[in-house]
């Protein structure tokens, strides 16, 4: 059974259809990349999947671990194992990082009927994961995303992914705003989280991220449709010929 199964998905924003019928299947452990030019519907797809308000599914279905998530609210989808690493992580002034992280982890544990993690052991877990991503103690003490640099925000997203252990992770333009070094750290963090039970959907504009996070499959999204799918070599093709070249071929 695939982890994520998108069937003939159509979706609209403000009454305007943006996605015109997407089909996509991601099997356990696979990493798929969605590439596409600006305005092709990449971010819309990530918001539709994660259930953001205002992003309306108008047709088709989305199955997560075999169950339809169309009727679920955003928080319920998250608790069933769907994770979105934001392109622009949101600042929560005054909200302590530790209490935010713990609230999210505990909500998942509660959902699964497991015991919530206490403060002391949680701090230990967070410190260990943070170390791998080069996140300092000082950063953990600050309010969520407040005063973080672009690179810090992205690392913080990956930290949350590591803590929440989703079965399906969507990475929305995780490479945007990162310099070469930061891109390397973030990619290594993501690679460490590759796991036979975890699938990933990497949304990106550029090929450069995909030379660090090597995908099993690459799909080209254009004007709300997947116009071409292939292996990692498709990303290189885009790099060479641009999206226009792909469009022509299709």
């Amino acid at each position: 059974m695939s982890i994520l199964d998108i069937k003939k998905l159509t979706a609209s924003v403000d009454g305007k259809e943006i996605l015109h019928g997407i089909d996509l299947k991601i099997n356990p452990g696979e990493v798929h990349a969605i590439m596409g030019p600006n305005g092709s519907g990449k971010s819309t797809l990530s918001y539709v999947l994660s259930g953001r308000m205002g992003y309306e599914i108008t047709g088709g279905d989305v199955l997560l671990n075999g169950e339809s998530i169309m009727e679920l609210e955003a928080d319920e989808r998250a608790r069933s194992g769907l994770f979105l690493a934001f392109q622009y992580p949101v600042e929560l002034p005054g909200v302590s990082g530790m209490s935010f992280l713990r609230a999210s982890v505990n909500s998942r544990l509660r959902e699964r009927g497991e015991e919530e993690v206490d403060q002391l052991s949680f701090v230990k877990i967070v410190r260990a994961e943070s170390k791998k991503l080069g996140i300092s103690d000082d950063m953990l003490k600050r309010a969520v995303n407040v005063g973080f640099s672009g690179g810090e925000k992205k690392r913080y997203e990956i930290l949350q992914m590591a803590l929440l252990k989703p079965s399906m992770a969507i990475l929305d333009e995780t490479d945007s705003g990162l310099d070469v070094d930061a891109l390397k750290i973030v990619s290594e963090g993501v690679n460490l989280l590759r796991h036979p039970d975890r699938s990933m959907l990497v949304i990106t504009h550029y090929q450069r991220l995909l030379s660090h996070i090597i995908p099993d499959k690459v799909h080209i999204l254009s004007e709300g449709r997947i116009i071409k799918s292939g292996d990692k070599s498709l990303a290189l093709e885009v790099e060479e010929n641009g999206y226009a070249g792909i469009n022509d071929a299709a």
């Binding site: 994660s50 259930g51 953001r52 308000m53 205002g54 609210e73 955003a74 928080d75 998250a78 608790r79 994770f83 979105l84 934001f86 992580p89 949101v90 600042e91 929560l92 002034p93 005054g94 909200v95 302590s96 209490s99 935010f100 609230a103 999210s104 909500s107 998942r108 959902e111 309010a143 949350q160 929440l164």
Partner: protein, 483 residues
């Protein structure tokens, strides 16, 4: 802690949304309804008061009769019939008790339900409690231990009898009898409250707290609190308030006076959770309170921290008169309004002393159809050389139908004074909410998390024991505000 959590959750299960809305079935002794000189004489004689006290009350009453009700606030208040209120109500059994074992078990159970254990052996956190039920103080804990340190902590009715010279010296020395309509009314009919005296160079060994509970129908609660800290002393005091859920409005008009002498410090915290009325605005407490502190000595400090979540109407401006050289006044406030609640609250910082400093941090959160106003005065007078003030007023709006208003008054009569005022108004953004939801946090928890983050600067000023309770309370007050 565990016991407290258990009792709180038990109450939650028992009473539903407003967690403290239950009524205690207890026999009470009441004065006839209405207000006149005979009622005041009745109260005074019930309290066994000396002649001077009665005369003081009568004088206040006669003055009150001539005063107009204030109407300058941004509140719409249904007319109050001052003759349709009971001014004295006491649980029948509490007279002349010598130990907690003699307190009516119903009463003990009530406080237990509220999460306030009065049996000393049950108190783990080391907080001394004075419990005021309707018009009288029913129990004060840890008195012996406090008296060893020289600290007096007792009902004010007792202080009038046992420490008349202290009471006469300080009562109405901060809030004059004729200060305002509600304070004058309080002088005439106040029935109980707490009295604290901290002698020279004594650091009060524990947190002091008073829990106010209105139980009887159509009963007003008029408490009077007086706290005096002598040179170099320190005390931290907390009050909490709850009332049953009733359809009619109930009146609460308290007066609190604080006196800080040279190098003394008073930290006064309030967690106000009176019944706010229902969504349509039916019922709820009218909370008209006068709180003022006098920083009389050099380097004295008074710090007000309030978390206001309850009451149908809140009219309250805890203030500091900064007379001493280099004295410090602080005001930290969180005011949450939801449903049809109205709050008009803020502070007054009156700078008289050289080098006096004040800080005002106010966080207003409005949801539902509520209206939330910050009203504050910063006044730097001629003699207040190099006085400083910093004010920060932030408002957070939840939903489309509520209002937030900021009305600062700034008066500077000394060119060396420095006054800063910052104000912001924001909403919980859909983006912030979605970010939390995407992490699996439910909408209500997300709102509570974001709001508590917004209030953080104020919450950290609360004594540890109460910060957690206050955080939960804010979450509960905003339940159903989104969506």
């Amino acid at each position: 802690m565990v016991a407290t959590v258990e009792t709180i959750s038990a109450v939650e299960e028992a009473t539903g949304k407003y967690k403290y809305g239950f009524v205690t079935d207890i026999e009470s002794e009441k004065a006839p309804k209405g207000l006149n000189e005979d009622i005041i004489r009745f109260i005074s004689s019930k309290k066994n008061e000396p002649e001077w006290m009665l005369n003081w009350r009568l004088k206040a009453y006669r003055h009150w009769l001539k005063m107009p009700e204030p109407n300058w606030s941004k509140l719409s208040i249904a007319p109050i019939d001052y003759n349709d209120i009971y001014y004295y109500s006491a649980p029948k059994t509490v007279e002349k008790i010598s130990s907690l074992d003699e307190v009516d078990p119903e009463l003990l159970a009530t406080y237990e339900k509220l999460g306030i254990p009065l049996k000393e052996q049950k108190i783990l956190s080391g907080v001394a409690v004075d419990a005021v039920f309707d018009s009288v103080s029913v129990a004060t804990t840890f008195r012996e231990e406090l008296s060893k340190a020289g600290v007096i902590f007792c009902p004010i009715s007792e202080a009038i009898q046992n420490y008349p010279e202290l009471v006469r010296k300080y009562l109405s020395s901060v809030v004059p009898v004729s200060d305002n309509y509600f304070s004058a009314l309080n002088c005439a009919v106040f029935t109980d409250g707490s009295f604290v005296y901290v002698p020279k160079n004594v650091r009060c060994p524990m947190e002091l707290s008073t829990y106010f509970r209105i139980n009887e129908q159509k009963t007003g609660q008029f408490e009077r609190t007086l706290i005096i800290v002598e040179d170099g002393g320190y005390v931290s005091y907390l009050e909490g308030c709850t009332a049953p859920q009733r359809d009619e409005n109930q009146l609460h008009a308290a007066v609190v006076e604080l006196v800080a002498m040279k190098d003394a410090e008073i930290k006064y915290s309030t967690v106000q959770n009176w019944y706010p009325g229902d969504e349509t605005g039916k019922g709820g407490i009218y909370n008209f309170v006068t709180k003022r502190g006098s920083c009389r000595g050099d380097r004295s400090k008074i710090s007000w921290t309030q978390v206001e979540t309850g009451s149908a109407i809140t009219w309250k401006y805890p203030s500091c008169v900064l007379k001493g050289k280099n004295s410090i006044g602080e005001f930290y406030s969180v005011a949450v309004t939801n449903g049809a609640q109205q709050a008009d609250t803020g502070t007054k910082m009156i700078h008289l002393g050289e080098g006096s400093k004040s800080t005002i941090i106010s966080k207003g959160i409005s949801a539902g159809k509520s209206q939330n106003t910050y009203r504050g005065l910063v006044e730097i007078n001629r003699g207040a050389e190099s006085a400083r003030n910093f004010t920060q007023c932030d408002s957070l709006l939840i939903g489309q139908s509520c209002g937030a208003h900021t009305v600062p008054y700034i008066v500077s009569r000394n060119p060396s004074g420095k006054i800063e005022h910052e104000a912001t108004t924001s909403r919980i953004s859909e983006e912030q909410l979605f970010y939390c939801l995407q992490r699996g946090i439910s909408e209500e928890d997300a709102v509570s998390l974001i709001v508590n983050g917004f209030c953080k600067e104020v919450m950290k000023e609360l004594p540890m024991e109460f910060a957690v309770e206050a955080q939960k309370l804010i979450g509960i007050s905003l339940e159903g505000s989104v969506g």
